[in-house]
Amino acid sequence: MDAREIIARRAALELNDGEFVNLGFGMPTAVPNYLPKGVSVVLQSENGCLMMGPTPYVNEGDPDVANAGGQPITLLPGGSIFDLCESFAIIRGGHVNTAILGGLEVDQEGNIANWAKNAAKNDFSPGMGGAMDLVRGAQKIVCTLQHNDKTGESKVLKKCKLAVTGRGVVNVIITEKAVFHVVNGGLILVEKDQALSVEDIKSCTEASFSVSPDLKDYRMSGINA
């Protein structure tokens, strides 16, 4: 199983039945494929709807029903549509239960960086889109990212190097190796890959963290949870 699937299966366990959920681009979009039995959630698309459904078939796209990527979607029964002010009122106002976002970096203070490749002005960043609103607004922020970059450097840092999306906003960090909770501005290791020791996690993680007295093996929806 690749890292992306591992992470999506773990992230699915963060969702409770009936929750309103916003999923960022990339890895988080796979999460609904792995919802545990009995858990159904309502997906918000920040361009203006709740109750997003699957992609329509060729020639059956509705020209006025699309997701935040400009791609055609369907709406499930019980769906609702609203303008962008309302959509971000829902987000900023704390009405979304959980947002699962991809991170470029995350750090031990709960800062997340996921919009600019670096902090320099001539970086040609694509822009923050709705990410800054989401990290300030959703009740629970789950940051998903691979534990290390291609050169093996930790993406779970003492302090983000990239321009941050929000400070002290992350509640849960999920990598393919470990799960951390962010509590009072510090990390607690709550789950780890069964094949790795706490020392192994320490050696591939730049951030400091404490270890939960209740440390568990890494759980994955549909596999061992």
């Binding site: 962008l84 709705g130 300030r136 929000g166």
Partner: protein, 241 residues
């Protein structure tokens, strides 16, 4: 006093250097026919204001305006989806001013609603803070974000009547309803122009008080075809088995 006009009439009102809202979100709910007419008009040095930029893949929606080098500046939340825009930006010919998506929407709403600004927690502790007044309310920090208005707004509705009432359909309401209120001259491109009284008052998304002109866009059948063709061309629709 019908507000129904031709697209040529309304586009002729633009001038080099104009500030222009474009409604829509990555092409969905975009005033496609007006955009084409703006491209054909050759007007230049535009400041565009759009919640996000063109539909991923390029060659659609606002992309032509960047390809033609008609845009001097864009005020938006995201530019990563429109290759023609990025080309202009990387070549140093385009100024980009970024706001978080929800902040962009609130700034435009504030302009339409006569507010002097709003306090938002979004962007506190980030680069977005730069140059902005910060206020602490009940121990929590907020940024003061100021109104954003324009001379012109081009919006896309489903139906529009002769006094400017606009009904939206689906998520195409997105930024259209917001920018309609914040421009001096708002043009509604619609799939269908109706008689006064044909739109149920409960279904009016933008009342005529905000709209100066109503123009005929693609008919609804054409509109469906334009999007299904586009989406098929970028493999965004599921293949039937």
């Amino acid at each position: 006093m019908s507000k129904v006009k031709t697209i040529e009439e309304v586009v002729a009102k633009l001038h080099d250097g104009a500030t222009v809202f474009l409604g829509g979100f990555l092409g969905v709910g975009a005033p496609l026919k007006c955009i084409d007419a703006i491209a054909a008009s050759g007007v230049k040095d535009l400041t565009l204001m759009s919640e996000v930029s063109g539909m991923p893949g390029g060659g659609f929606d606002m992309a032509i305006l960047f390809k033609n080098r008609q845009v001097k500046k864009i005020i938006t939340s995201h530019i990563g989806t429109c290759p023609e825009l990025l080309e202009e930006y990387k070549n140093g010919r385009l100024e980009v001013e970024l706001y978080p998506m929800g902040t962009w929407a609130e700034k435009v709403r504030a302009a339409g609603a006569g507010l002097g600004g709003v306090l938002t927690p979004t962007g506190v502790g980030t680069l977005v803070e730069e140059g902005k007044q910060k206020l602490t309310i009940n121990g929590k920090e907020y940024l003061l974000e100021l109104p954003l208005s324009a001379e012109f707004a081009f919006i896309k509705g489903y139906r529009g009547d002769k006094i400017g009432n606009v009904q939206y359909r689906g998520v195409s309401i997105n930024s259209n309803k917001i920018v309609a209120a914040a421009a001096q001259y708002t043009v509604a491109e619609v799939n269908e122009i109706t008689d006064v009284g044909d739109i149920d008052p409960n279904l009016v998304g933008t009342p005529g008080i905000y709209v100066q002109a109503v123009v005929q866009g693609y008919t609804f059948d054409e509109h469906k075809e334009v999007f299904n063709t586009r989406w098929e061309s970028i493999n965004a629709l599921k293949k039937k088995k």
